[in-house]
Symmetry: C2
Subunit: 502 residues, 2 copies
Amino acid sequence: MNSKFDEKLKEFKEYLSKLEYLESTIALLSWDSMVNAPRGGIGYRSEMIGYLSGEAYRISTSDKMKGFIEYFSECQDSDYIVKAMAEEAKRNYDRTKKIPENEYKEYTIASSNSTAAWEEAKEKGDFNIFKPHLEKIVNYKRKFVEYLGYKENKYDTLLDEYEPGITTKKLDEVFSEVRDAIVDLLNKIKKSGYTPNTDFFTKQFPKEDQKEFSEFVLKKMKYDFEQRGRIDESIHPFTINFGNKDVRITTHYYENDFRSALFSCIHEGGHAIYEQNITDTLKGTMLGKGASMGIHESQSRFYENIIGKTKEFWSYFYPEALKRFPQFEGITLDEFYKGINFVERSLIRTEADELTYSLHIIIRYEIEKELINGNIEVEDLPDIWNKKYNEYLGIDPKNDEEGVLQDMHWSDGSFGYFPSYALGNLYGAQFLNKMEKDLPHLYEEIKKGNLLHIHEWLKENIHKYGAVYKPADLIKKVTDEELKAKYFIEYLNDKYTEIYNL
Amino acid sequence: MNSKFDEKLKEFKEYLSKLEYLESTIALLSWDSMVNAPRGGIGYRSEMIGYLSGEAYRISTSDKMKGFIEYFSECQDSDYIVKAMAEEAKRNYDRTKKIPENEYKEYTIASSNSTAAWEEAKEKGDFNIFKPHLEKIVNYKRKFVEYLGYKENKYDTLLDEYEPGITTKKLDEVFSEVRDAIVDLLNKIKKSGYTPNTDFFTKQFPKEDQKEFSEFVLKKMKYDFEQRGRIDESIHPFTINFGNKDVRITTHYYENDFRSALFSCIHEGGHAIYEQNITDTLKGTMLGKGASMGIHESQSRFYENIIGKTKEFWSYFYPEALKRFPQFEGITLDEFYKGINFVERSLIRTEADELTYSLHIIIRYEIEKELINGNIEVEDLPDIWNKKYNEYLGIDPKNDEEGVLQDMHWSDGSFGYFPSYALGNLYGAQFLNKMEKDLPHLYEEIKKGNLLHIHEWLKENIHKYGAVYKPADLIKKVTDEELKAKYFIEYLNDKYTEIYNL
């Protein structure tokens, strides 16, 4: 280290801090729009966000930023964190600088129109309303890939935005294994003829009681909402943060379903704990955030499914639920446990169970990949969609509303985003395998309602590093192996063989 | 008009819009800090606000701003609104540019330390803890007056920040009349020997019931909280806005007092209605805000006291209250009305009634004026304070906590702010006099619970203009006279003569 380097690093961090302040500010304005803002204020709010986004763009793409990137990428004194800072700044710089500003502006307008068209199309169940808009969006995305460049596969460039470093080649490998394993399990489950009872989940559960119980569970998970978090309500649940000391989640209560708000709270709690546990020293580096969308989902799904749907977890929490909810009188722990792990071949991704969920994602992945590479076109989508649902899940959408039109993601050009959800499952199972080795008393502790060991393990192995490591490096560092499908497949086989007595 | 002028005006407005976006953003961040933010996030929040304030400072004091100010101040094509824009920008520019940046930074640190010292001093009832800090603050303020310049009286320069154009000379004139009139009335009330009953206000009033009733009253006032507002809770009630389409108020419910939250809602509702009714076309001019602190207070106090404490108002609302609050059973409208207008010589400004409130303010005004002009020093304050309370209100603080240490304002250097509160009362009574002439059926309508005429009159005469007119010009425009004490004095005499049968 030398003083010139230190001085320049201090300047770099101060410069990146400005971006962090702006991003946190935009996040708070968005949170407020979704949770609080009166409708009349939304127009002006968009202008405010637009101005602040413009300022963030200006900083991200400035010559000053370019200077910092060049200096710290090549400087011998840069350690791995400083290198990661420069790399992250470069990803940001390239993404915004390589696409001509005018075209990007046209794209954002097209994207906003496309989302409106998608809403209308979904409502009317008419893909043709959406088609011309989606074609525009796909064309923009294909063009952007050319601007940004690609190596082996054009789709890789889009994946990189959400999952830095992952490739189509890797996804093809792991997703095809997972797909076959799930299809196989689904067939066995069908043959088993067994259907767990779930009626008791859809009695009346007053909002205030659900709220109290969700908070009880979140406290046990050590989501800190006394000092550094809070829970609000919004149409769709989400997690948002402004630094690591103000990390908020939202949920949506349905009084006729016990599961929805509870598992969404556990899920968002997983995201929130991740952000709360990122080490303070990453402030001002732009690395004080999750390593990727997929790693983030691995944390939320770890709590929601891998821990939150075990018998051990409910050994502790079911008696607590019984104290609060006489609605469950007469239902045994075993019935309850099988109920929350009920598997059903269904059409809607957001309502899917833990087992079938990844299939919904893999269908979307396979379609996106071909679409971006020009092997299929927008007009082919409804047919391909329906064929894949028939092939993998054995069910047929009655119309496009419950088929190709169900998700918003394509309407605003978020191609490459879907795989993160399924990657989260794979990462999670591989982390679990290592955690079980590191924590021999894991399940005994869970049975006692002690989730602190899990919290600490995730913090020490994953959370504290923020985005210092790329996903592939992180999983290697934590588990000593690269990403493999087998852990998730084994996990699923073990779990459902036991529940369905296969 | 010519195209060069139009082009340049468009640029000026775009530039001012940036300032408006930043100010609205800072306001939202502050609102969130006071209403929602977890404690852990406050440190980072201050950094965010600090960054955004710095950006606002940069724009306010830029050469570009200076160029606009010079061009539009002198341009023959500028109409009165453009002139007002340039003038407002100049006030802002001068205030920030004339004080050396370093000294201002030192001052803000001293001010933050001083506030902390004030808190401690107040808690311990020890003025000496606060004294050295307050001396620093006063010295800074005296120096700033020299930097900013002054004409007749040094204190005018500080007044100008809150009440553009008002002078010590004018305040001396109106405040001394008001002071004598109130002291006189207080003596008569004492002699009358009559004390209204207020016991029934301090029964138990559940928060939810108070909330519902406050919202009922606010709806009748036509505060739009469906589309453009909302009500939250905070330690101290306040109004804040981000543009004119998102104007929020807060309150604080005390279950053992019917009056506190209700009248604070009516008060804040008055502020909020003002902001909601500023015309849309002032967006991008920096004039889309109240004309001054005093005019703003005139609106809140108009609803809180001048309308909200009349017998006509409660002729409609008391039966509504009775429907909701059996706590008032057996209490007549007359008793209720006299109860809310109960006068008491008390020590604490924030708890004072409508009549004595202005005396509390005038005491502070008289002290501030002498202090800034160097006629008295910080060490003299406790004595002078106590003497004035004895002379005007006939009561003696037992200690400095209920004396000179009660308000926060001096600790952060807000000298010149207090007069606004009393000015609000004077403006309000003068507006009322004109309103009564314009609306001959005013009180009949109030009796029916119809407050729409008031809403419309205030909107058309005051609200819609925002800060286009200076307070003195506005009151002249609305009432055809300059500010006079006599309307407020007559209003007080009439009201209390009737209630106390003087």
